[in-house]
């Protein structure tokens, strides 16, 4: 592997990736547990290793607005946020995606007030699933690094032109140090060429941007946006392919399956908690239990086909998520279930495990219990808080 091995936190890995992606404009606002990303970036701008305009904005709404403005003149842009900050820029998130500005954002997944809490759950990003952003969820710092670089390539792809958000679990990923391979700048430059777009203010050929479209036309823009997001699935796979060839690390597309081949019971989850499931799967497999893990890497575009294919043989599926849509169930569960309903064939057991809210620990023992629950035949409450 070329490049350099470094012992970095998830946030530092993200900052390192951003440096290599060379965004021309960065605007962000501090919030725990995102802050160290923008601190590192400030240092890089200071020490000259990153030639970006770095805007000290007064809020997240302005952070993303500034990125939209910069993207609207054709600049590559980056921002980062979390939780309250993400919600404070919610209007701009829809704005950026509707305007097809391929901004890349790092989101440090964190619980949403009230009650206040700075720890990692995923209600922040999942509650904005409909905002038109590509949503990726990393499991470890290396994947966060790689996803970040790929996110620029995918978002800026002419068939996609859609903003992308890379999610890291607060603290569990953002503040945990581990080994990360950081490639050579020249390799990243080759992988990720300069951003060019026709969707920008052009001194030679002036345009109107961000206009009004009435009832006759509006839906067409929305439909195109949907199609572009759908197209991003293929673009993500191609980007991973190219990435693998150049950097030697390959990724499996929108979902990753772990020992799912002949699995009867599968836990579906996303983000870093997959790392807690993995050794439990190994342990149970070693005692002959047919269990597996399916990790959703992208929530948008939603990998319904991949999911169904991977889970075709499973009789019991448990969706484990750090999120709850009050008055129904976990949002990931809802999405997964729809994929099943659309095929007409759901697994016999379909359970929802809600955990990790506000950073509540999810232990290997918890996971073992979940697999046990998936083995019990019927009569279970669908939504269980663990």
């Amino acid at each position: 592997m070329a490049g350099m091995n470094m012992f970095l936190s998830g946030n530092e890995a993200v900052a390192a990736a951003v440096r290599l992606a060379r965004p021309q404009v960065i605007a962000a606002y501090p919030i725990t547990p995102q802050t160290t990303v923008i601190e590192r970036l400030a240092e890089m701008v200071e020490d000259g290793s990153l030639a970006s305009e770095y805007l000290h904005v007064e809020s997240e709404h302005s952070a993303l607005s500034a990125c939209i403005g910069a993207s609207a003149v054709g600049a590559r842009t980056f921002t980062a946020s979390s939780s309250q900050g993400l919600l404070y820029m919610a209007e701009c998130m829809h704005y950026a995606s509707g305007g097809r500005f391929p901004i890349v954002m790092m989101n440090a997944n964190r619980s949403v007030a009230l009650p206040w809490n700075i720890y990692g759950d995923q209600r922040d990003s999942l509650s904005l699933l409909d905002s038109g952003w590509i949503q990726a969820y990393a499991e470890d710092a290396q994947e966060a690094f790689d996803m970040l670089i790929q996110a620029f390539a995918v978002a800026e792809h002419p068939l996609v032109l859609t903003p992308a958000m890379v999610n890291l679990d607060g603290f569990a990923l953002t503040h945990t140090y581990e080994l990360v391979n950081v490639p050579d700048p020249s390799d990243v430059d080759a992988f990720l060429p300069r951003f060019t777009t026709a969707n920008r203010m052009d001194p030679e050929h002036p345009v109107s941007l961000g206009f009004t479209a009435g009832p006759q036309h509006n839906q067409a823009f929305k439909q195109l946006q949907h199609l572009a997001m759908l197209a991003s699935g293929q673009v993500i796979r191609e980007a991973e392919e190219r990435f693998g060839q150049r950097f030697g690390r390959s990724y499996p597309g929108l979902v990753e399956t772990y020992r799912c081949e002949d699995a009867e019971r599968v836990i579906v989850t996303l983000g870093s908690v997959a790392g807690t499931v993995r050794p439990v799967v190994d342990r149970l497999r070693s005692t002959g239990e047919r269990v597996g893990l399916l990790r959703i890497r992208y929530m948008r575009p939603f990998p319904d086909g991949e999911l169904r294919a991977a889970l075709a043989g499973a009789t019991s599926v448990g969706v484990l998520e750090k999120d709850i849509s009050f008055g129904y169930e976990g949002t990931v569960f809802t999405n997964v279930n729809s994929a099943f309903a659309r095929s007409g064939a759901s697994p016999r057991n379909l359970l929802n495990f809600i955990g990790g809210l506000g950073g509540k620990d999810i232990t290997p023992t918890d996971i073992e219990n979940l697999f046990a629950r998936l083995a019990a035949p019927e009569g279970l409450e669908t939504v269980t808080f663990i």
């Binding site: 305009e53 203010m201 961000g210 206009f211």
Partner: protein, 302 residues
């Protein structure tokens, strides 16, 4: 070629080209005149940003695009920050001679857009922020903003036995941006177009943030004839409710002292929004004007 540094703008040398044309504004709209004139000064390299509000609503209805320069609608709260992004992006990409200019209404400036504006001033972003002040939320049908003057009737500051229109005084945006230590700020009126053009021209040369507050009557919201827009805009200056001034290098400059004021009463009662005002209420407004002018004449340079 003229020396841009010294150009004094008149109707003779002003650009013939129109950059805001074919919009859907009401007849006699002061705001659209303010936008039109400013763009004639700033020219084809303007990158204009307009938040939700009348000017964006009337200027960008697909496929009818009334701006001939680059232009974009921003979120209602995001004018200044989107402008900052435009300026930063242009700088990063090496685009030269660009004017990042914003046109926001009073509501979009003094209410929901104030924070982003304050942030931009604080960073000394090289942007020109023009607030066209029609003294209410017009695009949504004349609701009170913090720049609605005391006594004005709007749909959310109704007139009846208990309330007599807006009860709070008009927020002092010019003083507020000046208190930020902004690089350049000015007030203006579409009734004094040459003064306004000069200020836009000046702003275009400022290395930092400029703010121009231009008074722009709205015949629909104010209740005057569409032909009277310029007169009303002049009368506001003549009667002393509006002052033409600049802030630069840490000090205020009064550009024009009317000396004897014309009648505030006439100014007010010429507009539907003020027609309910009684003598006492008018007197209070007069008194307020007088005390403000006392301070201005005492403290500001001329």
């Amino acid at each position: 070629m003229e020396n841009r540094k010294e150009r004094k703008i008149t109707a003779r040398n002003l650009d013939d080209r129109e950059f805001f044309y074919g919009h859907k504004g009401c007849p006699g709209c002061g705001g659209s005149l303010a936008v039109r004139l400013a763009l004639k000064v700033l020219g084809e390299k303007s990158f204009a940003v307009l938040p939700a509000g009348c000017m964006s609503a009337i200027g960008f209805v697909f496929p009818q695009m009334a701006f001939s320069c680059n232009a974009m609608i921003s979120t209602f709260a995001g004018t200044a920050s989107m402008l900052a992004g435009v300026a930063a992006g242009a700088r990063a990409l090496g685009l030269e001679g660009i004017h990042a200019v914003g046109f926001a209404g009073d509501g979009g400036t003094a209410d929901i857009g104030l924070q982003a504006l304050s942030g931009a001033i604080d960073r000394h972003d090289r942007i020109i922020y023009i607030c066209y002040d029609n003294e209410a939320y017009m695009n949504t049908g004349v609701q009170k903003s913090s720049l609605t003057p005391t006594g004005a009737r709007t749909t959310t500051s109704p007139v009846g036995n208990r309330l007599r229109g807006a009860v709070t005084p008009k927020k002092q945006m010019f003083e507020i941006v000046a208190a930020h230590g902004i690089d350049y700020a000015a007030t203006a009126s579409v009734g004094h177009p040459l003064d306004y053009l000069r200020k836009v021209e000046h702003a275009s040369r400022v290395e930092g943030t400029s703010y121009i507050h231009v008074f722009a009557p709205c015949p629909v919201g104010w209740g005057h004839d569409s032909a009277e827009t310029i007169e009303v805009a002049k009368a506001a200056v003549d009667c002393g409710l509006l002052y033409l001034a600049e802030y630069t290098g840490g000090g205020f400059i009064l550009n024009h002292d009317p000396g004897e004021f014309s009648s505030i009463r006439d100014y007010l009662l010429g507009q539907g929004r003020f027609r309910h005002l009684g003598e006492e209420e008018i007197e209070a407004i007069v008194a307020q004007r007088d005390s403000r002018w006392q301070r201005i004449r005492r403290e500001w340079r001329t």
